[in-house]
């Protein structure tokens, strides 16, 4: 017998919770939903575009009535619940409909605040909250010409814009001297006002309404200073209040909203509440992003999984007026002890202000070009120390989404045929279509359905921008603490800590101990867990090959046709006639289709059949060639120039140093691929400043550079420090690699890792703390004792034979 769950409120918060619940525990409840409005569940955020005529009701409908049928949910639409009987555990609607519950979810949202001036109840005075309000406004726009919107905040301006699009002459009345004062500082607000005025919107600033005047229908507005303005429609958009009257009447503890715990439970343990009607840790939210996080947590507890806490949301704001880009987050006005970084280009209509305290972003206001908004927002939420890139901060995240787009970052202006995702060939039109038709809300949804930004990820910023322009608001805002994968609530860091502190030594133990949702995980978490185990317990011989990606499982690189490539190691990029002869012999004997020189100074053989690999490796081994690990999340190559042995500019023996580095580090597994280079002089022919670890030799010694990469988003290294001797280079390299191995997340390269933790932190651990550096280097060397066995030799001798042979060849 299923338990009964009743949901009061058919809005975004309630239904999102139901959707999350169906995902995690589809069989737990028989679900009944009450909705006061006569519709299915629609996207309230999109009322502005609905009013402006950019969208239709169908466009903004999230779950039509069939959805409720398909999921076995009883929907009482157009029925307002008027009583919760907590003793009898039932709810009663205005028409007498009664439903009993085992668990109750209250999601009654919020109500618009109506200023109680005389005449506020006249016909022609509306709020802006639901489809009914929009219908009234649209009807008014057909018959009348003059509209007044009271309230120069986000909602008021969107309403005013919509009415203007419907052909009305609109005046915005605002009590303050600048618009959106809760989101914008004065310069941004003035730019916004100027831009709206240029479109024909009128403003009465600093105006306080005294009365709304009219016989039956509104005719004019009178202000405190005695002036009047004629109008046919008044839209009150001065704010919203949590709607908790029903809950309060039932004796549930309420303050400014229904008070809930971190599990979204009210003071009555059978009753949960989510959305704009709740007050959590003293805060009531009026935006969408928090509600999504609340829904996930609430569903998890309703589904009796008991994992996850809602800890509050840092919110950001965007204005949904076509052609105006505006972003605001956090404390944008500053206070004692904060500093402001400001960029203003009036001619281009661009303004950016960041409020910084102790080198951390506390707030941001952007006007005109907001593509970097999500980046600033991430830096703010993560509390990232910005001192390392402070001088470039205002110019944005360089090359964001720049995979063939040049400067054309303004997604809205892009043609539908413009390619957004260069890896998977996904155009803007495809993405917008999928978002609208399939009702996608999150970046993950868009990735699953369109593949856009799911490969290299460089177009993530563009996809997020499209998402927020298509569905509005701050939908794509990901939860602050990202779980490792869909199988768990735990983050990478939490999992690593558990492995270390609880001595977990197998993937199965980790999954059991930490309560994985899927018994053998997924293709995302298993390789990560395997790496974390190998890294934490090098001597234990833990390594689950079935949890490794094929390349690392067979020590070769799979190609698009299912054949493999083979790249032997050439220490420091050097080779010998004997090695070249062996490679040539193998290439001829096995009919290698392509011989190619790689960017890391190696020779690659392409088009080899899997069965041939052990034989090829045997022959390469005979000439002294071993695996180059070109297939692995591992030390790849150490590239060098010829240095002072030959070059007239060389300052040190870069080739020798490169070979030493490669001999020390080969065979080590890392969170992502790891590349090194050594250049013999500052001319830097080995391109050491775009490697994970680069050494640039100078006359006085060696400069050590970290965190660079070529590829998707070119990032030049940061200078870690300079040292005097080769011995020190080796020690610093080992320490840096070990710090990266122990602390970066799986599949996080050194560049994003350093951006996340800050160069200052890396310097503290390695340069300034000698004891720690030596300990890290020692742990690296200890691990290497167990890692440096040539995997090719082992396989040439018969290890994992099953991997390289068919199970059976049948004639049929």
């Amino acid at each position: 017998m299923k338990e009964k769950l009743v949901v009061i409120g058919n809005g975004m918060a309630g239904i999102r919770t139901v959707e999350e619940l169906l995902k995690v525990s589809p069989e737990t409840y028989r679900i009944t939903v009450f909705g006061a409005e006569p519709y299915g569940n629609y996207n309230r955020i999109m009322l502005s575009p609905l009013l402006a005529g950019d969208k239709t009701i169908d466009d903004i409908m999230l779950n039509d009535e069939q959805w409720y049928v398909d999921n076995g949910i009883t929907l009482h639409k157009g029925k307002e619940v008027i009583e919760i009987d907590r003793v009898g555990r039932k709810v009663i609607a205005a028409d007498g409909t009664t439903e009993e519950y085992d668990r109750l979810l209250v999601a009654t949202g919020s109500t618009p605040f109506i200023i109680p001036v005389p005449g506020h109840d006249l016909e022609g005075v509306v709020s802006f909250r639901d489809i009914h309000d929009v219908d009234q406004m649209l009807a008014a726009a057909k018959q009348h010409t003059h509209a007044v919107v009271i309230g120069g905040g986000l909602l008021g301006l969107e309403a005013a814009n919509g009415l203007m699009q419907q052909g009305m002459s609109v005046t915005v009345v605002h009590i303050m001297d600048t618009l959106m004062e809760r989101q914008l500082d004065v310069p941004a607000a003035q730019m916004l006002q100027a831009s709206l005025e240029a479109r024909g919107m009128n403003f009465l600033m600093g105006a306080e309404t005294e009365a709304i005047i009219g016989k039956d229908h509104v005719e004019k507005l009178r202000f405190k200073d005695g002036t009047e303005i004629y109008t046919d429609l008044v839209v009150m958009a001065v704010g919203i209040r949590p709607n908790f009257a029903l809950a309060e009447k039932a004796g549930i503890h309420c303050e400014r909203g229904i008070v809930v715990s971190d599990t979204m439970q009210t003071f009555d343990p059978r009753i949960y509440a989510v959305g704009e009607c709740v007050q959590h840790r003293g805060v009531a939210y009026g935006l969408v992003a928090p509600l999504f996080e609340m829904a996930r947590v609430c569903a998890n507890h309703l589904g009796q999984h008991g994992i996850g806490r809602y800890v509050g949301t840092v919110t950001s704001t965007k204005l949904k007026v076509t052609g105006i880009d505006l972003f605001s987050a956090g404390n944008f006005s500053g206070e004692e002890g904060t500093e402001e970084l400001v960029f203003q280009d009036a001619a281009r209509g661009v303004y950016r202000k960041l409020v910084v305290q102790d080198n951390r972003i506390k707030g941001a206001v952007m006007y005109g070009d907001t593509i970097d908004g999500s980046w600033y927002f991430d830096l703010m939420r993560d509390g990232t120390d910005i001192s390392d890139f402070r001088e470039n901060l205002l110019f944005g995240q360089a090359h964001l989404g720049d995979s063939g787009h040049g400067d054309d970052n303004r997604v809205v202006a892009m043609a539908d045929s413009a390619e957004i995702c260069g890896c998977n060939g996904v155009c803007k039109g495809d993405i917008v279509k999928a978002i609208s038709e399939k009702k996608l809300f999150t970046l993950e949804d868009v990735r699953a359905h369109t593949k856009a930004s799911s490969s290299c990820g460089s177009c993530t910023g563009l996809v997020e921008a499209l998402l927020s322009h298509t569905v509005g608001g701050d939908y794509s805002t990901a939860p602050h603490q990202k779980p490792l994968c869909g199988c768990t609530e735990h983050t990478h860091d939490e999992v690593r800590t558990a492995i270390k502190e609880q001595g977990l030594k197998s993937i199965q133990t980790i999954m059991t101990t930490l309560g994985w949702d899927n018994p053998d995980g997924c293709s995302k978490c298993r390789p990560a867990l395997n790496y974390y185990l190998v890294c934490q317990w090098p001597a234990e011989g833990i390594d689950d090959y079935q949890s490794r990606f094929i390349n690392e499982r067979v020590h070769a690189n799979i190609q698009k046709d299912g054949t493999y490539s083979v790249i032997p190691r050439m220490w420091g990029g050097g080779t010998t006639p004997k090695e070249l002869r062996a490679i040539a012999d193998v290439a001829e004997k096995y009919n290698v289709k392509t011989v190619h020189v790689t960017g890391g100074q190696r020779i690659a053989l392409y088009g080899l059949k899997k069965e041939e690999l052990p034989g090829i490796w045997y022959e390469l081994n005979q000439a002294g060639l071993v695996s180059g690990h070109a297939y692995g999340k591992a030390l790849r190559t150490v590239k060098t120039c010829v240095g002072k042995e030959w070059c007239r500019f060389g300052t040190q023996d870069s080739t020798h140093l490169g070979i030493e580095l490669e001999k020390m580090t080969w065979g080590s597994w890392t969170p992502h691929k790891f590349k090194m280079a050594v250049s013999g002089c500052p001319r830097n022919c080995a391109e050491a400043t775009i490697k994970d670890f680069g050494v640039v030799c100078v006359d006085s010694g060696y400069e050590l550079h970290v965190g660079g990469n070529g590829g998707i988003k070119v990032r030049a290294t940061d200078l870690l420090c300079a040292v005097k001797s080769e011995k020190e280079v080796l020690e610093y390299t080992a320490a840096f690699m070990q710090l990266y191995r122990e602390e970066a997340h799986y599949l996080e390269r050194t560049a994003p890792w350093i951006e996340r933790v800050g160069l200052t932190y890396v310097k503290e651990r390695i340069v300034e703390d000698e004891t720690n550096r030596k300990a890290l280097a020692e742990r690296f060397r200890y691990s290497q004792k167990y890692m440096q066995a040539d995997p090719w030799q082992a396989r040439a001798e018969g290890t994992d034979k099953h991997e390289f042979e068919p199970l059976k060849v049948v004639a049929g």
Partner: protein
């Protein structure tokens, strides 16, 4: 006729020859067939060609009753050969069963999947 041939089980090897959460390939004239061994020693057989771009499913990571294609990360249901939604497509599924420790495979694919 089809029914008769379906009786035509071929012994392709023993369970222990396939690693748990792994796969092996059976070479046939109609192309490679991937034979998977899931966690509970359940056996599945699919055409070794991802419906997306033909990637060898036998080389993927097996998790639950699914395999992730090594080329572009599509997930395929091992029991039906269907791609996990929202992706669409399917790899032909072949009847396979265990007789004691022996794995028996039929070379007549189940109907309903165009990926032949």
């Amino acid at each position: 006729m089809v029914a008769a041939m379906r009786e035509n089980w071929i012994d392709i090897g023993s369970l222990s020859e396939i690693p748990r959460l792994g796969a092996r390939v059976v070479r046939t004239r109609q192309g490679d067939i991937a034979v998977f061994r899931a966690a509970g020693d359940e056996i599945f057989a699919l055409r070794d060609k991802c419906p997306h771009r033909g990637g060898p499913l036998s080389q993927g990571i097996v998790h639950g009753k699914r395999v992730t294609c090594p080329l572009h990360d599509w997930k395929i249901h091992l029991d039906s050969g269907e791609a996990v939604a929202p992706d669409e497509g399917c790899a032909a599924s072949y009847p396979v069963k265990l007789e004691g420790d022996r794995i028996m495979l039929s070379l007549i694919p189940e109907e309903g999947c165009p990926n032949q």
